[in-house]
Symmetry: C2
Subunit: 147 residues, 2 copies
DNA sequence: CCCAAGTAGTCAAGCTGCTTGACTAAATAG
DNA sequence: CTATTTAGTCAAGCAGCTTGACTACTTGGG
């Protein structure tokens, strides 16, 4: 039983990795080859009303500097744009461009394509249980590069 | 429902990260402050009869060169040693030293300390279900740095 | 038995994505 | 209206990985 406990982290990491890789592959296959998984997680945060660089950094579990240059990269590639922040002239509101939204939709499609068969095999109540169980371990909101 | 599907990867990654971080903290607290999570995953592989650099690379999802220098680091710090391989003079068998075993035990303790309360809260049959469900997504044996 | 091809491991160089440190401009507190 | 804090960027550095090239040993086919 303890053996079972001990390889749970490995199992979890492995599952997460497999999922992320599969979705990333799906996104690339849809024509967005210049993006990495981290960008997708950024898009997920930006897709609700945008976000500041600081909020993005918080969400991605990295420094503001790192988030800033990630944004710079996305601006250059045309996926997001910096707008003046309506309530704070120091800050800038990062929002998705048309291309950013297109990519977000593609990512959603890819994710569903990967997750659907597996969710169907599991069944709804088992899926709900899994979500609930995972939520217990997860630190809300903070995402990080693992190991 | 699709919304639920879509944040499953985030949830998984988040949970995996939280677990890895917590165990890593436990290991450091036990006096092994010069190690990172990746080393722990290496130990897990080495603890069954040792392994070659190539096998380690495969297990950790990295190139042989990277695994080789990870081993070099662990040799320097006294956690593993290189032995001649019994069946192949090109290869070397990497095995844990006494200190390596001590760290492995400490890691197991830390992992159980972290996982136990959460496993208890879940209950045995729910835990078994979680393991089974995760196993479906996971690519067997291959571990990778996620995103 | 021997040679050609394949495999285990290491050395060296380079690069990517992150960090820490220092700074400017704007907001906020007292 | 100054003193402190906060948002963001610029610059430099670095850890952990990659690709490429090489040596030592093994394996398979004639």
């Amino acid at each position: 039983m303890d053996r079972d406990l001990l390889d749970l982290p490995v199992l979890l990491l492995n599952a997460a990795g497999a999922l992320v890789d599969a979705i990333d592959a799906g996104v690339r296959a849809r024509g967005f080859a210049d993006l990495r998984p981290a960008h997708g997680f950024a898009f997920a945060r930006l897709s609700h009303d945008g976000a500041t660089v600081g909020q993005l950094a918080e969400h991605l579990g990295m420094t503001k500097q790192a988030a800033s240059q990630l944004v710079e990269e996305l601006v250059t590639k045309g996926y997001v744009e910096r707008r003046p922040h309506p309530a704070d002239a120091r800050a800038r509101l990062i929002v998705l461009t048309r291309q950013g939204w297109a990519c977000t939709r593609a990512a959603d499609e890819a994710a569903i394509e990967v997750l659907r068969p597996w969710a169907d095999a599991l069944g709804p109540q088992r899926l709900a249980a899994l979500r609930a169980d995972l939520s217990r371990i997860a630190t809300p909101g903070r995402l990080r590069r693992t190991w």
